[in-house]
């Protein structure tokens, strides 16, 4: 299987906008209609704005199209991104050429599906496919259908994701369901729902987490759209976020080393391991990156449930045929400690 981050793979149609740069310089456009960011460039969008007509940024648009398919989802991945604080989502979203996203898009019905399919044809090899949610396959494929095209053809999630993945420049498996299978593929769902890699045979860029931190999403997608190489680990995860475990970055690490354990969730300072914390299984920088710049599970006294791990919620010893060690141990039962 090839590495998903071959340098220079996104050679055409690069995103012109460096949306992370916007956050770095603290730019906000709260209060301004979408399109204002392009005003200084004399683009068609700016012309639209000057004319007072509706802005339709995707036309005459050289930016890399992003097609985002939600399969067997809870919409938590989209909701996480919609809560993005840095960069502010109201800056970030208008800057991405997001052509298909069921929760957000204006289009509906067959015209939306036709648009998705025709764009995937016209921009074959040049678009980024984002998938969240697990994908039901085989005899269970009809458990999730995603729409009907103009000729009345019904598409299962498996058909649509496979067809689009074949043509995409890059595939992003967003969230633990798409990355590893997650909750729908556990217990009674085992064998019915699978990850993007299992459904398509193509190794994606993986941004796990249930849901992923919004900055993991914006930074990974931003790097892809700018054509920057992302340093990835052997499972295709950005090293920038997934090189340490939650445990290693935990503010309670000192009390772990002193074997000073909390006896109930909600303890203010002591290590939560004996009340089920699975931070040793989970890779992710959440304890220092924080959510909304404010807190994280372990900081708030809540045991980590290892939501970024292949073993969330149940054991998954291998990914892509590769043993994943500790990360593949079962995260559940969530309130029971790992064996020492």
């Amino acid at each position: 299987m090839r590495r998903p981050d071959g340098p220079g793979r996104d050679s055409a149609g690069m995103g012109r906008r460096e949306f992370l740069r916007l956050s770095a310089c603290g730019l906000t456009v709260i209060g301004l209609p979408v399109g204002c960011l392009r005003e200084d460039e004399g683009t068609p969008a700016a012309d639209h704005l000057a004319s007072g007509r509706p802005v339709s940024p995707q036309f005459s648009d050289a930016r890399t199209p992003v097609l985002w398919v939600e399969a067997g989802t809870c919409t938590g991945c989209a909701c996480s991104l919609l809560g993005s604080r840095l960069p502010p989502v109201e800056v970030l979203l208008p800057d991405v050429r997001l052509e298909f996203q069921e929760t957000l898009m204006e289009r509906f019905g067959a015209p939306a599906v036709d648009h998705l399919l025709s764009l995937a044809g016209a921009a074959a090899g040049r678009f980024v496919l984002v998938v969240d949610g697990a994908i039901p396959v085989g005899a269970g494929a009809s458990l999730t259908t995603l729409g009907v095209d103009g000729r009345g053809r019904d598409y299962t999630a498996a058909e649509l994701v496979t067809q689009l993945a074949d043509r995409a420049a890059r595939v992003v498996a967003l969230g633990t369901c798409a990355a590893f299978g997650g909750i729908p593929s556990s217990g009674a769902g085992a064998g019915m729902y699978v990850s993007v890699a299992e459904a398509t045979g193509r190794m994606p860029l993986r941004v796990p987490g249930c849901p992923p931190n919004p900055q993991w999403i914006s930074a990974a997608l931003g790097a892809l759209l700018r054509g920057e190489a992302l340093e990835l680990d052997e499972l295709g995860r950005p090293m920038a976020f997934f090189s340490s475990t939650v445990h290693e970055l935990c503010p309670r690490l000192g009390s772990f080393r002193n074997r000073d354990f909390a006896t109930a969730p909600g303890d203010a300072v002591r290590c939560l391991r004996q009340v089920g914390c699975k931070g040793q299984l989970a890779r992710g920088d959440c304890p220092i990156r924080l959510w909304q710049g404010r807190s994280s599970c372990v900081k708030a006294g809540s045991p980590c449930v290892a939501c970024t791990a292949p073993g969330f919620p149940d054991a998954r010893p291998t990914v892509d045929g590769r043993a994943v060690g500790e990360e593949g141990k079962a995260a559940s039962p969530f309130l029971r400690p790992l064996p020492l």
Binding site: P33, F108, L143, G187, Q292
Partner: protein, 457 residues
């Protein structure tokens, strides 16, 4: 009679398909289908019942907190536990913050593009689909609404920050644990959160109120369009210290002037039109959820819950009707306005609960033991309406888990008597000017704020 299929209906949570039969420019019959089954109730089978607070939050990333709370309370009910005042208050705050977060998303991001062109949106219609044909400006100020939409996204973050501060993460809060809550907020944190809640409340009272009213004025015909004619049901939520809820529960039957007690033991879920093993309608504490994808007489993954045989509309409008705060037209605009008014109420309540948290005695949660056997129910409200979780524990493991979500009620298919669900009924008679652009149908659907992954789970 002509048929129209809209699949997917976008700008809602999950995957919804509509089949519309129309004649003479008006809808005669509508069939709504949830098109994605994951089976999270079945995923719970055999697990430590305390896991439900985490597993079932993944039913919905838009409204995870009510699922987490219902799961905690179903377990606590089965185990005979009462939680501390601190835990009750923390749950109230994070749940209310999730409500307002969801309401703002619904109005500004999911709904407004049905009425106004030029808002920040993904996958916009191409210019040749002439938005003007179905979104005449009608004195709505698109620039102002776009500005408010951007501001609404900022206040959503404030709502999420409140959840994060008290429960670790949003979506999918780890701080919702059976037996209590995990929050250890400092006085400084509580003061910060109070400021955020005040800001959210100010936005809901000013801009959101103006915008909801402006929309209702610009589209007066939608005061009446989209009424479901169903009963209104609420389970009630946000308990005060004495257990009485801030948002009361009850049932208002069609034609009734006031609410009666809703007896949830009379809830039955029909699978007559749902793709599960056929059987008699069953109570959610015992009903099974075995997929039967090949059933040709079924058209949805959503079951059809009925209370004493009545289809029930649930949600902010139902809560307003049940509490006596709303009477009169119950169409599209009443739902939008009810959502806005509820946001004001809840933002104010959050401020008061935060003050009470600051004064509450610290109450370290105990890690509750799992009973060998038992059964419990957790009834609460989600942003979209009445939510119930039912758990059965045998040999210290979950033997059965049942969930009836708000959109299970609203987007239910036909039951064994052929009676359509509230949303299907609300679509009957809706006039569609151009079948190629059935925006009128989509407006009615969006007014319910459907959450299909909740409905099917």
């Amino acid at each position: 009679m002509a048929t129209l299929v809209i699949d997917p209906v976008s700008r809602l949570e999950g995957h919804l398909r509509l089949e519309i039969e129309y004649e003479g420019g008006a809808v005669v019959r509508a069939r709504s289908s949830g098109t994605s089954f994951r089976g999270l109730e079945n995923v719970m089978r055999g697990r430590d019942p305390r896991d439900a607070a985490q597993i079932t939050q993944r039913i919905c990333g838009v409204c995870p907190v009510p699922h987490g709370r219902a799961a905690c309370e179903a377990f606590e009910n089965a185990a005979g536990l009462t939680v501390s005042p601190l835990a009750r208050l923390v749950r109230n705050v994070v749940q209310a913050a999730n409500f307002v977060d969801s309401h703002l998303l619904h109005f500004y991001v999911l709904s407004l593009p049905d009425y106004v062109a030029g808002l920040p949106t993904a996958g916009a219609w191409p210019p040749d689909r002439a938005p003007a044909a179905w979104r005449a400006a009608r004195r709505l100020d698109a620039g102002l609404l776009a500005a408010h939409a951007a501001e609404a996204l900022r206040w959503r973050r404030a709502c999420q920050e409140i959840v994060v501060a008290l429960a670790g993460k949003m979506p999918h809060a780890t701080g919702l644990v059976p037996g209590g809550a995990t929050a250890v907020p400092s006085a400084a944190t509580l003061a910060d959160l109070r400021v955020l809640a005040a800001g959210v409340g100010a936005f809901a009272r000013a801009a959101y109120a103006d915008d909801a009213r402006a929309l209702a004025r610009a589209f007066p015909e939608y005061a009446g369009i989209g009424a479901s004619g169903a009963a209104f049901l609420a389970h009630g939520s946000f308990p005060h210290a004495d257990g009485s809820p801030l948002l009361p529960g009850g049932l208002v039957l069609p034609g009734d002037a006031s609410a009666r007690t809703a007896d949830v033991s009379l809830v039955r879920e029909s699978t007559a039109s749902a793709r599960y093993a056929a059987g008699a309608p069953a109570h959610p504490s015992v009903g099974t959820t075995e997929p039967a994808p090949r059933r040709s007489d079924a058209y949805s993954w959503v079951k059809a819950p009925r209370l004493s045989g009545h289809p029930c509309e649930v949600g902010p409008l139902a809560r307003a009707v049940v509490s006596g705060r709303h009477s009169g037209a119950a169409g599209v605009m009443a739902r939008h306005v009810a959502r806005q008014r509820e946001s004001v109420t809840l933002a104010g309540a959050v401020e008061s609960w935060l003050d009470q948290i600051a004064a509450a005695p610290p109450a370290p949660s105990a890690l509750p033991d799992v009973p060998v056997s038992g059964a419990g129910v957790g009834l609460t409200e989600a942003p979209r309406g009445a939510l119930g979780h039912w758990v059965t524990i045998e040999a210290s493991a979950t033997s059965h888990y049942g969930v009836v979500s708000p959109t299970t009620w609203n987007a239910s298919p036909r039951d064994e008597a052929g009676v359509p669900g509230p949303m299907e009924r609300a679509l009957e008679g809706v006039r569609v000017a151009d079948p190629a652009d059935p925006i009128e149908v989509v407006r009615v659907v969006h007014s319910f704020d459907p959450c299909l992954q909740c409905a099917v789970h």
